[in-house]
């Protein structure tokens, strides 16, 4: 039987933990709203970019030798670059762990097929996890820790780095692994192939124009060589934003759960406390009464 004092201390410590978790939940909720707005705001660009890319890709034969490698890849399927996107902070439930697990599973699968795997980690948590698990495959990491809002230019550097690596033939296929924000309580681990770029379905553009073809200025290939790196950056940007929104959603849910857990715990502990207190009083009474009877 724990003493009254130790019970009191337990209750107080759980209470202050509850205060922290409920404050974190509030913060996550307000950050989530902002992150969601940012995802929404970035959508129009991505949609239009996809439309243009569809029109361009349709007008260029993908088997031509001059087709840019960002679109068609290097023609090989040997070295895979994985880009897992995680948060920089923990306390968000399984948010970071699920990306780590998915990346590890993907890496194992690829390696069992005889492929080479390289990992470029975005976010501190993923970096730490993968450094423990798959240290030999790590080739670098990027972190946006400390930024209030991730801007497009931040991501552009990463996209450039990936493009340069592709031109140096350091990998053949690039895949993003990130948490797609579905709702506050559910984030879906998504594997998205970036290079070679999956060509968006192009029937919408042609339908819209009644089959009329676009004019290009300058020629298709020049535009494509400029548009593709931009598209890469936009895809990564979108994934990063989704991941940020997912992170806050996951944290909000996790903190909501722990606030509720702390509440339950407080209830149980105070019950124990009251019982112990009453037992003490009863015991004292019995002592007094039996003392009086003995006289």
């Amino acid at each position: 039987m724990p003493s009254l004092k130790s019970l009191r201390m337990r209750i107080n410590s759980v209470k202050s933990t509850q205060k922290i978790t409920s404050a974190m939940k509030m913060v996550a909720a307000s950050k989530l709203r902002r992150a969601q707005a940012q995802v929404e705001a970035a959508r129009p660009y991505a949609v239009r970019m996809e439309r243009m890319l569809g029109a361009l890709a349709a007008s260029i034969p993908t088997d031509s030798p001059s087709a840019p490698p960002l679109l068609v890849g290097t023609g090989m399927n040997q070295t895979h670059l994985l880009v897992p996107i995680t948060a920089d902070r923990g306390l968000a439930g399984a948010f970071n762990a699920s990306i780590g697990r998915a990346t590890r599973a993907l890496a194992r699968r690829l390696e069992s097929e005889g492929k080479t795997v390289k990992i470029l980690a975005v976010g501190r948590k993923g970096r730490d996890f993968l450094r423990r698990e798959l240290a030999s495959r790590m080739i670098g990491d990027v972190s946006y820790a400390g930024k209030r809002q991730i801007e497009f230019s931040d991501v552009q550097d990463l996209a450039e780095r990936i493009t340069d690596m592709l031109h140096d033939h350091q990998f053949d296929v690039c895949t993003l692994v990130y948490n797609r924000f579905q709702s506050v309580i559910s984030q879906v681990v998504t594997e998205q192939q970036l290079i070679p770029a999956p060509i968006p379905a192009n029937d919408t553009g042609a339908d819209l124009l009644g089959g009329a073809a676009y004019e290009f200025e300058p020629d298709e290939e020049t535009i494509l060589t400029r548009l593709l790196p931009q598209n890469l950056a936009v895809q990564i940007y979108r994934a990063v934003l989704e991941s940020v929104a997912g992170e806050h959603g996951a944290r909000m849910t996790a903190m909501d759960n722990s606030t509720r857990n702390a509440g339950d715990m407080i209830k149980r502990l105070s019950q124990n406390y009251n019982r112990a207190r009453q037992a003490n009083i009863t015991k004292e009474l019995i002592e007094i009464i039996s003392g009086a009877e003995a006289v």
């Binding site: 129009p44 660009y45 497009f152 009329a212 004019e215 200025e217 535009i223 931009q230």
Partner: protein
């Protein structure tokens, strides 16, 4: 019938409104877009987008480069940097020009891509200076 003009940056939709005509700085020269323009996808160099209402220019926006999609009904501009011309300063144009010249000169002789990128930067900085005067 007006042209539905949209200017979008990766971060957000910056402007969406009908205009009578818009002049965009296309790769091979200024391009005026009126309703019913033939469908086109063009690359933009650094320059000024001018919005027309009737014969009057209502807004002048500087872009440092990007892409545009033109169809008979609409004109969509994708640009990384969009700023009203009134916001630009000569000092900024000069710093940019300095940085651009430096980037061009530091590019290796063999590295044509870097040279081209430097060239584009110079061109965009020049356009910014021109837009002010």
């Amino acid at each position: 019938m007006p042209v539905a003009l949209e200017i979008v940056s990766p971060e957000k939709l910056l402007l969406s409104r009908p205009v009578d005509m818009v002049v965009i700085p296309a790769w091979e020269g200024e391009m005026g877009v009126l309703p019913g323009h033939a469908p086109a996808i063009v690359m933009l160099r650094g320059g000024v987008i001018a919005l027309y209402q009737g014969d009057q220019i209502t807004d002048r926006l500087y872009v440092s480069g990007g892409f545009a999609e033109v169809t008979p009904e609409r004109c969509t501009v994708l640009a990384n940097e969009v700023r009203p011309v009134a916001e630009l300063t000569r000092a900024e144009a000069e710093t940019r020009m300095g940085a651009a010249v430096l980037a061009f000169e530091s590019a290796g002789k063999e590295d044509t891509a870097a040279q081209e990128a430097g060239m584009d930067q110079i061109q965009a900085a020049q356009a910014m200076a021109d837009a002010i005067s």
